[in-house]
């Protein structure tokens, strides 16, 4: 299990999450296209694939196969731990 904070510390990985929130369920091809176009990130597919592995290991991305394609989905569940640790209203419930 990758550390959640390490996973979201990287700007490219945050951009990947932004794009998956924009449209959930993307192939690696689509993610790379969006990062290039919308964020000016020109990393190799291999590098993006490794970022996705870190996000998947932290539980923030899940992959599902449909047919022979692999799609990536944002999964926000682990982020609850942050708000639980530091409540957004400043108090623990």
């Amino acid at each position: 299990m990758e550390d959640l904070y390490r996973a979201i510390a990287d700007p490219t990985r945050r951009a990947i999450l932004d794009e998956l929130v924009d449209r959930n369920g993307q192939t690696l091809f689509e993610i790379c296209g969006r990062l290039t176009l919308k964020h000016g990130i020109h990393s190799s597919r291999q590098a993006i694939s490794q970022h996705l592995e870190v996000l998947e290991s932290a539980g923030l991305v899940v992959t599902k196969r449909e047919g022979r394609c692999k799609f990536h989905w944002f999964h926000g569940g682990p982020l609850k731990a942050i708000a639980k640790r530091w409540p957004t209203d400043g108090r623990r419930s």
């Binding site: 192939t27 690696l28 091809f29 689509e30 969006r34 597919r45 047919g67 022979r68 394609c69 692999k70």
Partner: protein, 133 residues
């Protein structure tokens, strides 16, 4: 020198001919028996004397792992030009074609990607501005 042929590697030539003509709307140009397979090409009705697309058998052992790896990552190896990606997406989806990328604006190009049923992902693209593509 000019480019007169391009190939897609298909798992079944007869099925490919049905998809590329019946569904996509290309026309058969050459169909020559060649042992176990055929020299089989299609052209666009908009450009019948233009570049021919060869529907090439994918039997070589190196081909299937290559095709699978591209499909897994959603990568189209072949791209066709269309006037209106959204209209083509609507037309093809109604015919049951499965898209892995819906029409998406990439700045200078609008593109979509679909499964050709023969083991390939195909991009259709419409240029919307200056730049490559």
């Amino acid at each position: 020198m000019r480019i007169n042929l391009s190939s897609v590697l298909v798992d079944d030539q007869e099925k490919a001919l049905r998809f590329y003509t019946g569904t996509l709307g290309f026309r058969k140009k050459h169909d020559i028996p060649l042992g176990a397979h055929r020299w089989l090409t299609v052209v666009s009705p908009e450009d019948p004397d233009g570049t021919e697309l060869v529907l090439e058998p994918d039997e070589h052992p190196a081909v299937k792992p290559f095709k699978s790896a591209l499909v897994e990552d959603g990568i189209p190896f072949t791209s066709f030009a269309v006037e209106d990606v959204a209209a083509e997406h609507e037309r093809l989806a109604a015919l049951g074609v499965k898209f892995t990328l819906p029409p998406t604006d990439f700045g200078t190009v609008i593109a979509a990607v679909f499964d050709d049923t023969c083991g390939n992902l195909i991009q259709i693209a419409q240029r919307t501005g200056a730049g490559p593509g």
